[in-house]
């Protein structure tokens, strides 16, 4: 049962992370490289988003997905997809923000050099992102750590349903409430181990990426 909860935690978080990576890296690159009028406002929004209170995100997602809300027809409230949506919203700003700053940290003359060497706009952007990849990996690790350990949003929108939407963090809350401190502590240990393992994998990947360069 504990194993099943741990696997579900990973499923939810990894699904959310895939979506937010696919959205977050292009958006982060765009914000770093393109100048447009309200860019400063956009940057401030991203930085605010990096510290979004999970429980507020949970509340808003709850109201939107409720059968009485605008997307009620999906019947997603109290299901895995609702939890993934909340975690995507929480992790996108982290990935956008960190991708953006790592691209900005790349030598600013590189882009000009690339263009001078005949690279198209698209090729230059791609090479800049690749140049900044170790920073981008840090963004992924930060996003993973933030959402797998988050409890406020997934409790609200998932409902902590046994066998369906119970993940490590909400199970810890429930076991603590029922006075089963041993089980709660064991679940906490698994959560920490997963977070550590994910970060270790990413740190190793980061090293590999540097060597490949």
């Amino acid at each position: 049962m504990i194993l099943e909860i741990a696997i579900r935690s990973l499923q939810v978080t990894i699904s959310a992370l895939i979506v937010s990576t696919l959205i977050g890296i292009p958006v982060g690159a765009w914000l770093a490289l393109v100048r447009f009028p309200a860019r400063r406002v956009a940057l401030a929004l991203v930085y605010t988003g990096m510290g979004l209170p999970p429980v507020v995100v949970g509340l808003v997602v709850y109201l939107i997905l409720s059968r009485s809300g605008p997307l009620g027809g999906l019947s997603w409230l109290f299901t895995i997809p609702a939890m993934i949506v909340a975690q995507i919203i929480l992790s996108i700003p982290l990935i956008v923000g960190i991708t953006m700053s790592s691209i900005l940290a790349v030598d600013s003359t590189l882009r000009i050099q690339l263009r001078a060497l005949g690279a198209t706009h698209w090729q230059a952007t791609r090479d800049l992102v690749l140049e900044a990849r170790s920073g981008v990996v840090v963004g992924l690790a930060a996003g993973f750590g933030a959402i797998i350990s988050e409890v406020g949003a997934v409790m609200l929108v998932g409902g902590n349903i046994a066998g369906q939407t119970r993940v490590l963090t909400t199970a810890i809350v429930l076991e603590t409430r029922e006075g089963n401190f041993d089980t709660a502590l064991a679940l906490g240990g698994i959560l920490l181990t997963l977070a550590f393992a994910a970060n270790l994998i990413m740190v190793i990947a980061q090293g590999r990426l540097r060597e490949i360069k």
Binding site: S75, P81, I84, G179
Partner: protein
């Protein structure tokens, strides 16, 4: 060099996608039950629900929250059926057109628990209101659920009946479920109002708080089941909800409720109409 990189990335992505795909939405025959923490924390649902799931080839998704929140979930049409214990709010829920009817299911009772040392000397008092008066007079620490749950609603009603507006350093509003609140009450050597079921379950797990007041007429705790209106909320699975209600009220299920005991004590006493007809 990039190809190696790509291969690793591709393999990684494939694994992630496979993991993600396994998170499919739910199969059709599911019933969402919004209920109170006391029915879950007392262990009752774990005992009776498998029978329903087997008989109707359905799965029951239990969202266990306070009665106030469970009713709020019902008011938005986000559950198919409610099993709650706050008669005033239940009647209002039905009157507001959120449900066709509300049915008696079972009852147990509230108890006042506290440390064995009993600083406010309430042990054995006849009613909860008397005990609350003594606690307030002694300014002994009292911890309230403070979460709009059924237990919280009853507690506030008792304070009102006692003519006391609970406020001050001795009155703590915790905003926690019943299980957590009992732990907190024990740690702080305080008093609190609890449902008997959750208390017995926790006591069998080692809780050392003792029952100080019980059996008062102001301590009865009836539970009602309410199928949410499919007319008002088209997404509601009304058919299965009605089957659940009929099953819960049936004599067989009521017998299971009566048979659920911890330390030889029944946690809930059945009182559905079919049960009462069969046991006059």
């Amino acid at each position: 060099m990039l190809t190696i990189n790509r291969k690793i990335a591709l393999a990684f992505l494939t694994i992630l996608t496979l993991l993600a795909v396994r998170c499919t939405p739910q199969p059709p025959a599911t019933l969402r039950l919004a209920t109170t923490t006391s029915t879950q924390d007392s262990g009752l649902l774990d005992i009776i629900l498998p029978d329903f799931e087997k008989k109707f080839n359905a799965r029951v998704d239990v969202v266990a929250v306070g009665t106030g929140q469970a009713i709020a979930i019902g008011e938005k049409g986000d559950a198919d059926v409610l099993l709650v214990h706050d008669r005033a709010k239940e009647d209002k829920f039905v009157a507001d057109g959120n449900a066709p009817a509300r049915y008696d299911v079972m009852y147990n009772d509230f108890i006042i628990v506290g440390p064995a040392s009993d600083p406010a000397k309430i042990k054995g008092m006849a009613t909860a209101a008397d005990a609350f008066k003594a606690i307030a007079a002694a300014k002994a620490l009292f911890i309230s659920r403070g979460d709009q749950s059924g237990t919280n609603a009853r507690e506030l009603a008792i304070w009102k009946a006692a003519g006391i507006n609970p406020a001050g350093d001795w009155y703590v509003s915790a905003g926690q479920g019943m299980g957590e609140l009992l732990t907190m009450t024990q740690e702080r050597e305080a008093y609190t109002l609890s449902d008997r079921g959750t208390y017995l379950k926790r006591r069998s797990d080692g809780l050392t708080l003792v029952i100080l007041v019980e059996g008062g007429s102001d301590l009865l705790n009836p539970y009602g089941v309410i199928p949410v209106s499919a007319q008002k909320f088209p997404g509601v699975n009304a058919d299965l909800a009605q089957k659940f209600v009929d099953w819960l009220l049936s004599v067989d299920t009521q017998q299971m409720i009566a048979d659920y005991k911890i330390d030889g004590q029944s946690l809930f006493i059945p009182q559905s109409e079919p049960w009462k007809a069969a046991h006059p």
